[in-house]
């Protein structure tokens, strides 16, 4: 594709010269989302999310009188005893370390203690204190966060319903946002990384981004569908399809711009740095932004069309348009082009004084 030009492609999408029948093929997208959703539920059900120490609490090992406060040997010591464990190590004061891990068995604890004694030159009986540590992100915090999200979703749904003056649109937006969240959680569970507070923050960001993206796409649908009932050239579905095609360039640009920094953190973070907050956060963000941007186009708008075609006014209008077309016996190609939504005329209006030249001030 040597001659491929993004701007020209954008032109063709805008004018409807080139059009992808995204809305018409909605059964396919619904099927894909359905399969992904069921797969996510299955993964979450069977594998589950592995909650980290912040949610479940764990074991805390305090090491005193260490010779150095290097954190590397402590991580190594824990990982020798418990492979795959990602301890959190912090320095306390000037000669003590705090190591937090998920709950360890007494055998594991004593093994960790031996390695630590070797690494730091301390007496395992005197200088190591083991205790349990409770969750910093307890059920209280989770409940508050959950309530916040529920209220936020309801408020956002109400806002969308009022702004677009169509509750079906808001339902479509919210449903696709929730499916984004489900699929992102499924992917996260599949990768099997531990859920940390950063992951939760990442998921909340996804909610925000997904809803934001749907607002932008829906606003284009709204703009295109303005006055759709007062003409008989194309149906609501066709206009919505044109809107999706017209925002395609924007959606691609936005997702690339949003994904590039996150991808940088994810790949550098995961490949070079190993585990850590950054990795958890960037994975949930990366998946969520990609899924969210795609679902605005392939799920939210088709879903909106599917729902709104049940609205009596729009159903009646669609039937009228199709009947008019059938009666006109027009060329099938013309019909196809109309179906792509490209014949979209906006009626002119009387401009009144606005058409007159303006007197220059000053």
């Amino acid at each position: 594709m040597a001659r491929f030009s993004f701007a020209a492609w954008g032109n063709d999408l805008y004018t409807g010269r080139r059009s992808y029948p995204i809305v018409a093929q909605r059964k396919r997208w619904f099927a894909i989302v359905g399969v992904l959703g069921i797969a996510s539920i299955a993964i979450l059900g069977f594998k589950g999310l592995e909650l980290g120490i912040d949610f479940r609490g764990g074991t805390e090992i305090a090491v005193e009188n260490v010779s150095s406060t290097e954190q590397g040997p402590a991580v190594q010591a824990v990982q020798d005893a418990v492979p795959g464990e990602e301890p959190r190590v912090a320095t306390l004061g000037s000669s003590a370390l705090r190591i937090q891990t998920t709950t360890l068995t007494p055998e594991q604890v004593s093994e960790v203690g031996r390695s630590l004694a070797g690494a730091y030159g301390i007496d395992p009986d005197e200088d190591i204190t083991v205790s349990t540590v409770g969750p910093t992100w307890g059920s209280g915090v989770s409940m508050r966060a959950l309530w916040g999200v529920i209220v936020f979703v309801i408020a956002a749904a109400a806002f969308m319903a009022i702004y677009f003056r169509a509750w079906r649109m808001s339902v479509a937006g919210i449903v696709s946002m929730l499916s984004d969240l489900l699929i992102s959680a499924g992917v996260y569970a599949l990768v099997g990384w531990e859920v940390t507070p950063s992951t939760i923050i990442g998921f909340l960001t996804i909610l925000g981004f997904s809803l934001y993206d749907k607002m932008v796409v829906f606003d284009k649908v709204r703009e295109n569908a303005e006055g759709v009932l007062s003409q008989t050239r194309n149906t609501y579905a066709e206009r919505a399809n044109l809107a999706v095609n017209q925002t395609l360039v924007r959606s691609i640009n936005t997702s690339v711009v949003a994904l590039l920094p996150v991808a940088g953190i994810l790949f550098v973070g995961a490949l070079l740095l190993g585990a850590g907050t950054l990795r958890d956060l960037s994975l949930s963000l990366f998946v969520g932004i990609a899924v969210g941007a795609a679902s605005s186009l392939f799920l939210a708008t088709p879903l909106d069309v599917a729902l709104r075609e049940r609205e009596p006014k729009i159903a009646e209008h669609t039937a009228r348009v199709l009947a008019a077309r059938a009666g006109a016996e027009e060329d099938p190609e013309v019909l196809a082009a109309a179906g792509a939504g490209s014949v979209q005329l906006t009626p002119g209006q009387h401009l009144g004084h606005a058409a007159q030249p303006r007197r220059r001030r000053r």
Partner: protein, 697 residues
């Protein structure tokens, strides 16, 4: 060129005002703050050019608290969870610092606070949460009395106490104005009342020499206007007849009361050890007044809820008086009903009319009773301002826990994330940013520079805002916060992308750049506002409902959303208006990103090209092409050699009525079309329509 917009836009002026208001002024404020109130080891909350970092990035202080119950019972895990919630609430209410709070070993509470917290913060965390209501027996100025008064404890009756207005006096509610004014005439603490009025805007009890806040309690509901109960206990019945019995002031108590020096800091430390069943001699929190208090009547654990706000007046209209609304559970309401009826029966002016809110052994506030309160809903009004009302409400709602905390250890703790990790993460983010710049330059050519400049402006404003907020309200940037800012790049850039795409759409419709900018902005603006509104709603709701890290996230989201809208409205758009006048962009230079050739090379709609001529577009792709292209086989921009225009005259001999643009054809045009159709069906080779030949006729 002041074209057709009704309000003339002045991009330069907008830009200058924007730069001054959002960048120079805040930066100057920050610089001044750094100079005057710089952050140092002694002043951890001071201003600095570097934003404060949270526990995970900077480390901080780890405090281990051991809770013990005040009533000698076992500390249960529910108690512990409750205590964790209380502490979290207290820390959150003092700013967005994202502290870490967890239980440890089943009995301790570990609190991690970023940076080096001030003593006030540590006190806030470890203050014993023990709140009780006791009846006031008597009170006096908070210094030892030089000559013991001979009276049986009603000290303020004579002239020793009132000087300096130390004796509190209840400020009557609006309905009770008359008795309050009457009181000074016959009662000694007269100037207490008069002093209270001018001090209405400052927390009386907080100022050094002022009186203890002596607010009045009014009935919570207007309907609740029960008259004083006729069955109010007689005050001089047999000893401990009721908690207000003056017989409780034994000579020892009197001596202790007289000796008490509330100016001595040691007496103001408080402590949980007071016996709920006996008399308590203590000071007010600010040390200006000392009290003799009766046994506990209502335990703080019965407080269900306390809020502060502007209080409604007697007719339900909100007055501009700050106060605290208090709600008790059913037991507390019953106890408080009895107490308030008895206290009310003493009448205004008698010290025993007041009850004391005792926190950790010290009197927080000693309001008088205006009217008996039977339903457990009380309002405390008086000399409050917004902050003091909020403080009291906070103490009341979270002071309901029968626990006290001993600070077991206090240690510095390093960042839980390695500094190396942060550095590499930042590096990764920077690489991503460079890629964003490259991509937007590739996509929008020179216009991409505007994206980059807008992002830089947004970045500067965000940086200054965060620095200011970490000075003003203790905001601390955590790693999720940093990641939120990086994601905000996507949100922010999207505003520009939406805007630019709308401008391009308008150019594709054949408008000149200036008109395209104007119309594109009108349409993009609506989308941007609507989408950002959703973000802002989510941020506000999460900020108010969630706690801890989620709250910090919501704060970052809201902040970046507001900054983003400000930048696109007051920076990107004015600059766009300016560069629309530059020849490079106006004439659509091929590198400008607004090149007409690139944007309209296959434009479908007819375009007016001047001199009464309309450029007709190239033929459209057919449905078959569309599907083929949908598979990505045919490159875009390839001239497609099909002759069918959508809505254009079909190649059947039927007479067309409209042309491609939907305009009704003239009779002559229609005849010509008929002729052409006839010729075509006769087999003559009429060249297919292309370019501009159709309208040239």
């Amino acid at each position: 060129m002041a074209n057709s917009s009704t309000r003339r836009s002045r991009p330069v002026r907008t830009l200058v005002i924007f730069a001054v208001l959002t960048m120079l002024l805040p930066f100057a404020g920050l610089a001044a703050g750094t100079y005057l109130d710089g952050r140092s080891d002694d002043n951890p909350d001071g201003a600095s050019y570097a934003p404060g970092l949270a526990l995970d990035l900077q480390g901080g202080t780890q405090i281990i608290l051991t809770p013990t119950t005040t009533d000698g019972s076992q500390v249960t895990s529910e108690n512990l969870n409750e205590a964790i919630n209380v502490i979290r609430q207290r820390i959150d209410s003092s700013g967005v610092s994202e502290a870490e709070i967890a239980s440890q070993g089943g009995g301790n509470i570990v609190v991690g606070i970023p940076g080096r917290p001030s003593q006030a913060t540590i006190d806030l965390v470890s203050t014993a949460a023990q709140m009780r209501f006791r009846p006031v027996l008597t009170y006096a100025q908070g210094i030892p009395m030089p000559e013991p008064s001979a009276e049986d404890g009603t000290a303020p009756e004579d002239g020793t106490a009132p000087e300096g207005g130390t004796a509190p006096e209840e400020e009557a509610g609006p309905a009770e104005e008359a008795p309050a004014e009457e009181a000074p005439a016959e009662e000694a603490p007269a100037d207490g009342a008069t002093q209270d009025v001018p001090e209405g805007t400052s927390p009386g009890g907080r100022s050094a020499a002022g009186p203890v806040p002596a607010p009045a309690v009014a009935a919570g509901l207007p309907a609740d206007t029960a008259t004083p109960s006729p069955t109010a206990p007689a005050e001089d019945a047999a000893p401990p007849a009721d908690p207000s019995d003056m017989a409780q002031i034994t000579p020892e108590v009197q001596a202790q009361f007289e000796a008490l020096d509330c100016t001595d800091q040691e007496n103001l430390v408080g402590g949980g050890g007071d016996d709920p069943n006996s008399v308590l001699v203590t000071c007010s929190q600010d040390g200006t007044t000392k009290f003799v208090l009766g046994p506990v009547e209502v335990e703080g654990t019965h407080i269900r809820n306390a809020t502060s706000g502007l209080m409604p007046g007697p007719n339900g209209v909100t007055t501009n008086e700050w106060g605290v609304s208090l709600e008790l559970d059913s037991t507390g309401a019953r106890q408080f009903a009895q107490t308030s009826q008895r206290l009310y029966s003493y009448g205004q002016g008698d010290p025993r009319n007041q009850f004391a809110i005792v926190l950790d052994g010290l009197v927080v506030s000693a309001p008088g009773i205006n009217t008996p309160i039977n339903d457990g809903r009380a309002q405390i009004t008086g000399s409050f301002n917004r902050d003091s009302a909020a403080t009291l409400a906070n103490q009341l709602s979270f002071g309901a826990l029968p626990l006290q905390f001993d600070v077991q250890s206090q240690q510095e703790i390093s960042a839980t994330l390695g500094s190396e990790q942060l550095r590499n993460g930042m590096l990764a983010g920077l690489i991503g940013l460079v890629l964003v710049v490259v991509y937007s330059l590739f996509q929008y050519r020179a216009l991409g520079l505007l994206t980059v400049a807008s992002l830089v402006v947004a970045g500067i404003i965000t940086y200054v805002a965060i620095s200011l907020l970490s000075w003003g309200m203790g905001y601390r940037l955590s790693l999720p916060g940093v990641a939120g800012l990086i994601v905000a790049i996507g949100f922010t850039a999207d505003s520009f992308i939406v805007y630019f795409e709308r401008i391009r759409d308008e150019l594709r419709n054949g408008r000149t750049l200036q008109f395209a900018v104007q119309r594109g902005w009108q349409r993009a603006r609506r989308t941007i506002y609507a989408a950002k509104a959703v973000n802002l709603i989510s941020a506000i709701i999460l900020y108010y409902l969630a706690v801890g890290g989620v709250q910090g996230f919501a704060f970052t989201l809201g902040l970046t959303t507001v900054i983003d809208v400000a930048v696109v409205v007051w920076f990107t758009h004015p600059v766009m208006e300016l560069i629309a006048k530059m020849r490079f962009f106006r004439d659509g230079h091929v590198a400008s990103g607004l090149s007409r050739e690139r944007l309209t090379m296959s434009a479908f709609k007819p375009r007016y090209v001047g001199a009464g001529r309309v450029a007709m577009p190239e033929p459209a792709a057919t449905a078959a092409d569309v599907n083929a292209e949908a598979e990505g086989e045919v490159p875009a921009g390839e001239p497609v050699d099909r002759s069918v225009l959508v809505g254009a005259p079909p190649s059947t001999p039927a007479v067309p009525v409209t042309d491609a643009s939907g305009r009704r054809l003239t009779i002559a045009e229609r005849r010509a079309a008929e002729r052409r159709a006839a010729a075509q069906s006769a087999g003559a080779d009429v060249p297919s329509t292309d370019g501009e030949n159709e309208e040239g006729r």
